[in-house]
Amino acid sequence: MNAGVNWTGYKTIVRKEVSRILRIWAQTVVPPAITMTLYFIIFGNLIGRRIGEMGGFDYMQFIVPGLIMMSVITSSYGNMVSSFFGAKFGRHIEELLISPLPNWIILGGYVTGALARGMMVGTVVMLISLFFTRVEVQYPLIMISVLLLTSVVFAMAGMVNAIYANKFDDIAIVPTFILTPLTYLGGVFYSISLLPEFWQKVSAFNPIFYMVNGFRYGILGVSDVPIGWAYAIMGVFGVLLAGLCLWLLHRGVGLRS
């Protein structure tokens, strides 16, 4: 199949995904903006004043990277899982399955759509944070690359969930019982140094912990883990999930009889 066909197909999937995100903006962009505003007011402003400094920064400044990352993870994952499962449930995924597009283009198109939502929401949350505190980005390239890689990893995790899901309940289980606890325990609201040694070791098994810290390093210049670890974890998960998604699409698991 020639590159022109693949490129046009890719653009079409991305356009379709982005127009879906914008069409239902009240479900895609507004809720995280409201939730994060409440986090900034309650945790950052009201409680944060009593907490004082963390990691050498105001508590409000400290939680900004974590809250941005939390909203990006939730949005990227949520976009992929709802859009792909919706297409599967409504059977319009067949439009793509019968087309000449290879699986990697389908995966790439949907991941880019999820990435677009992640970046939109991340930008909105960052702008909201500016109403509450000053943020000076220390390493812009690290900040952007960690954000993009995290979004891609969770988009692909969302696709795996969507492929295996048979009903709408199945797409709520992972975010509720796995994603949210891992995010809250991933150092969004605290530095790992506050935890007892045992829980510090347990946290080391949480991939979100590395991503949040990688992003915090990009913005504030501080991190509980070396930045190389964050990239390594994201790289490994990225490669594994990409391989898994392509294998599932190739086998037609949950998609082809």
Binding site: T8, G9, K11, G90, E95, I98, L101
Partner: protein
């Protein structure tokens, strides 16, 4: 695309047309153990208008699913023109347009959006995609609905939308899985005209339908599939030629209490004003009317009990079931 059409036309004229579809010893057993296809083989020539008939659960949709890569075959091979569906999926799919039995478009999108997106999946740029979408929506009398949410369209409009979508990549092989189900007769006939014209322009058409009148009206060749096996694969004319007995329903003027006896024909009394006459193919209708006239029976009107293909279909499928 035009070049392909010219080549198609030339090969048709020179009689060297290739197979648009080639199915070899195709088997499909689902995970629950159901054997949907038991090693079927089938060829459809380029340019053909081909009917694929069979009762519910016969394996038609499984076959179409495998051809369009929505179902994985257990064994066997399927080729669309020169490309194997299993080995060269992308190339094979680029030749196909599919109108499935079930609605499978996003009902929250608009028809124009649905069709232009589908074109994009085939590598067709936005500008040409929109021109084609308009062309096919107009031809299928849907242009005035192009900006409406698809969910609001009627059942017949949704079916026509799927035909327009299947045409946007101007496929060499158009597969229609019960395209006129639930569509009123007027729209159905206009859809027939549209599909017939598509076929005359060089596109090979494979049609499955429960309206046997539709298959008889449109198709040149036919395969009947039953319980995962092909029980008949021939051209429509020779199949209809095998029909040795035809049954007519006669409405009569005066009431009868018993069916009249006519030599060489079987006549039944359906009710006091209706007779059912089964005639061997070699018997003339004049003989029937003469005998009825001699018995003082006045025939007001007459019609076929079932259409010819329907009679044959029922016999073939019934025979398959009893064997």
């Amino acid at each position: 695309m035009k070049f392909t059409r010219i080549i198609s036309a030339l090969t048709l004229r020179t009689g060297t047309q290739m197979n648009a579809l080639q199915v070899n010893n195709l088997k499909k057993t689902y995970a629950n153990g159901v054997e949907a296809l038991k090693g079927i083989s089938l060829d459809v020539k380029e340019g053909d208008f081909f009917a694929l008939l069979g009762p519910n659960g016969a394996g038609k949709s499984t076959l179409i699913g495998i051809v369009s890569s929505l179902v994985n075959a257990t064994s066997g091979e399927v080729k669309v023109f020169d490309a194997s569906v299993q080995q060269q999926r992308s190339k094979a799919m680029s030749y196909i347009g599919l109108v499935p039995q079930e609605l499978n478009f996003n009902q929250f999108e608009k028809p124009l959006e649905i069709i232009t997106n589908q074109a994009g999946y085939y590598g067709i740029g936005r500008k040409i995609a929109q021109q084609r979408a308009e062309k096919y929506l107009r031809q299928l009398q849907l242009w005035d609905k192009h900006d409406k949410i698809s969910r609001e369209l009627s059942g017949g409009m949704k079916r026509r939308l799927m035909i327009a979508r299947a045409m946007v990549n101007e496929p060499r092989l158009l597969i229609l899985d019960e395209p006129t189900a639930g569509v009123d007769i007027e729209i159905r006939r206009s859809m027939w005209e549209f599909i017939r014209e598509i076929n005359q322009n060089g596109t090979t058409v494979i049609l499955t339908t429960h309206y046997l009148e539709e298959a008889e009206e449109l198709c040149r060749n036919i395969a009947i599939i039953d319980r995962g096996e092909i029980i008949q694969n021939t051209n429509m004319k020779s199949l209809l030629g095998t029909l040795d007995v035809e049954t007519f329903v006669l409405d009569i003027r005066e009431p009868l209490t018993a069916a009249p006896q006519v030599d060489g024909m079987e006549i039944k009394l359906r009710d006091e004003f209706t007779l059912e006459a089964s005639l061997p193919k070699q018997k003339s209708l004049n003989a029937l009317f003469e005998s009825l006239g001699n018995s003082g029976i006045h025939v007001l009107s007459m019609r076929n009990k079932a259409n010819r293909l329907e009679e044959l279909f029922l016999r073939l499928v019934d025979k398959g079931g009893k064997s």
